[in-house]
Symmetry: C2
Subunit: 225 residues, 2 copies
DNA sequence: CGGGGGCTTGAGGCCACTCAACGATAGTGG
DNA sequence: CCACTATCGTTGAGTGGCCTCAAGCCCCCG
């Protein structure tokens, strides 16, 4: 599965994200791997051998119903850690949305370090808590918000995470957004058109995935606290 | 707030749930408190001073939108631990659904023990992971399932958790169920009627909260894997 | 016995879904 | 370089599942 290991040099960022800042950790080796657009990184129910961090690119984590309905639980962007499982198996399928390079580390070696380092185990809890918090907020969105509110919330979330130079470049398709927000892709398109018509945002150039937010305050008023 | 501390004797179950089985733990003291039906245990955004476990009764955890829409994230039944926050503040409001007795422990003292005990900190992670898993499954339900599927899934979940002698006694109202499933209470009632008409379940006596499942297999076929 | 809360059921309306057509863009191969 | 094709996004028209509003029942409780 991990046929080509692009690089096997330990990466400081990875370690610092888990709280192992100063000392060199001989037990932990970090590798890198690049997944092509649209390919699976791991599948739901698969044994969780690795923990991942996005170096470049974007990843979607989702669950499927037996008839094909899909719910995306999270998008993972540069810097995000994903695939961290306490039980032994992955609970989502993870796919590269675009060509994506990930850092990876054996779950086993991470647990080994965590067992002896209070700092590391505390950071594992911290990462899990962040995921939990996001899931809890998303339950509120999925259970109680209107389509327009969902799209507005999505734009604000992405704005915080990937806006550079005033422009937000979405890596994911309308279908991905729809399956994240629990609505249909046509509904996403209609909501975006409505927000564009209201002067809240604009598309840049000929690519519909480049968005500039003209009025974040008014956009926020379409969502609710 | 905790005016009457009913009992201050450490309870073995609480400790064992967090992995402190054998040794006496002088740092941790467990108290009990009883909340009357409908009263708040803690509010969203409040500093998290205690961690709780349901001894008897039932609790709902929910978030509100500013216009009053409510999303219940979880029901906590006998034995369940809730209110465990890694950050310092509660992310839900918790209310007693019926008269409820909880065991409680200071968050601070728990963290103190966790810092020195790998077993305890591992169990904190384990509890958090269980919550995360539930939230992830619930996102799929809220984002992608039909009303009938949601109610079927709810009945199967509750069946696992509180069926005694073939009868399931729901502590929560139709409105609570609706706000848990992201639908309206009328829709819950209609789905239950439909399932009753299909012979999958029956109400017992004159109380509509006592339900007996006549055909779990067929009920499961209304939900989806 | 009157009042209120919880539940069910009916009738009508609306928001999001379904189905469909169309335009634009990127990638492919002749 | 230019069809050719596939993919993605937008928009329109009509449908339907769930929501809204309302009435009525049952049971508990004062």
């Amino acid at each position: 599965m991990f046929a080509r290991i692009i690089a096997a040099t330990p990466h400081p960022n990875w370690l610092s994200d888990l709280g192992m800042t100063s000392r060199p950790e001989p037990l932990v080796s970090v590798s890198e791997f690049t997944h092509k657009k649209g390919t699976e990184i791991y599948g739901e129910e698969e044994p969780a051998e690795y923990v991942y961090q996005v170096k470049t690119g974007a990843v979607r984590s989702y669950k499927l119903l037996s008839d094909g309905r899909r719910q995306i639980g999270a998008f993972h962007l540069a810097g995000d850690i994903f695939g961290l499982e306490n039980s032994g198996a992955h609970r989502f399928t993870a796919e590269a949305i675009v060509d994506t390079t990930v850092r990876l580390i054996r779950r086993q070696s991470l647990e080994l370090v965590a067992a002896s380092s209070a700092v590391v185990s505390k950071n594992l809890l911290s990462v899990t808590t962040r995921d939990l918090q996001h899931a809890e907020d998303h339950m509120l969105l999925l259970g109680r918000k209107t389509a327009l509110e969902r799209v507005a919330a999505f734009l604000l979330e992405m704005d915080k995470r990937l806006t550079a130079a005033g422009v937000m470049t979405l890596p994911m398709s309308r279908l991905d957004i729809a399956d994240y927000l629990g609505i249909r892709l046509e509904t996403v398109a209609r909501a975006l058109s409505q927000l564009r018509g209201a002067g809240v945002l604009d598309f840049i150039g000929n690519n519909q995935r480049e968005i500039v937010l003209r009025d974040r305050v008014r956009l926020a008023s379409f969502d609710l606290a």
